[in-house]
Amino acid sequence: MTSAIVKAYPYLEVAESTVTFVGGNITVPNVVTNPSSSALGSNTSVPMPVVVQDLENFWRGVNLVYAFGRDMVDGGGTTYSYVSTTGNNTFSFTTTLDIPRISKPDIFKFVQPLVDSLNGIGIAVNNTTPTSSTR
């Protein structure tokens, strides 16, 4: 046993968006799955993620998401991101963006500035359709 629940809280609805893109000289993008989202039962694997050929720009994109983490935690949410090497100087990046007690349309609006800033540096991700937790 590695953990124990000491106090349980009433059911909490959590809305979730994701951002995913891959970087480097990639000709055939691999499916990218966000492990924490899958663990919670959401199917957020992205079969054809946006490719950012220029690695400097890929890392710029990663930094934009990290910086948006501040907005997320100030808004009561959390992000869970993964950067992985995928061989031959290529990388993948995926993050969940979770906010409790918020509707799916509202998290969509909340995340829009991040999507805009990524689009602004040429990372053409879409604002994903949010999911929310189920009992």
Binding site: T2, K7, Y66, G69, R70, V73, D74, T78, T85
Partner: protein, 136 residues
């Protein structure tokens, strides 16, 4: 993440790593190239040195911060500060009072400085005898 005291509230006074109360980001790195610990020890030690040079950049960028003991490097430098922050002194008092014989031991836990596991291959596994640590 932002697990401040206000959010946590109850029970309040506890030994949670104080770095968590001020953090907005927890960062881990994993090395997919670490050779098997069942193979030659030198390969593991050499790969670890490369890996450590990367995590050192995060350490240097976050002075006075900390690491999450349950998923951290067992060889974390200055682990007393890293895992326990300014709670260490009080925790050590409690340890000395409740276990003056040092009966309970695990690496990088409170009061573990007096003992260490000597492994034959020098790897930081716990496969070896628990011996008194050499005094520094």
């Amino acid at each position: 993440m932002k697990p401040t005291e206000q959010v946590a509230g109850y029970p309040g006074n506890n030994a949670v790593n104080p770095a968590f109360r001020k953090t907005i980001m927890h960062a881990d790195i994993f090395d997919p190239l670490t050779p098997s610990f069942r193979g030659p020890a030198k390969a593991v030690i050499d790969e670890y040195a490369v890996f450590n040079s990367h995590i050192n950049k995060i350490r240097a960028a976050t002075p006075g911060s900390g690491a999450y003991i349950n998923e951290a490097d067992v060889q974390e430098p200055n682990w007393q500060q890293s895992f326990f922050g300014d709670k260490y002194e009080k925790l050590l008092e409690i340890k000395k009072k409740t276990d003056p014989w040092g009966l309970f031991w695990a690496p990088t836990t409170v009061g573990s400085e007096a003992w260490e596991v000597m492994t034959a291959d020098g790897l930081p596994t716990q496969n070896g005898q628990l011996c008194r640590a050499k005094s520094s």
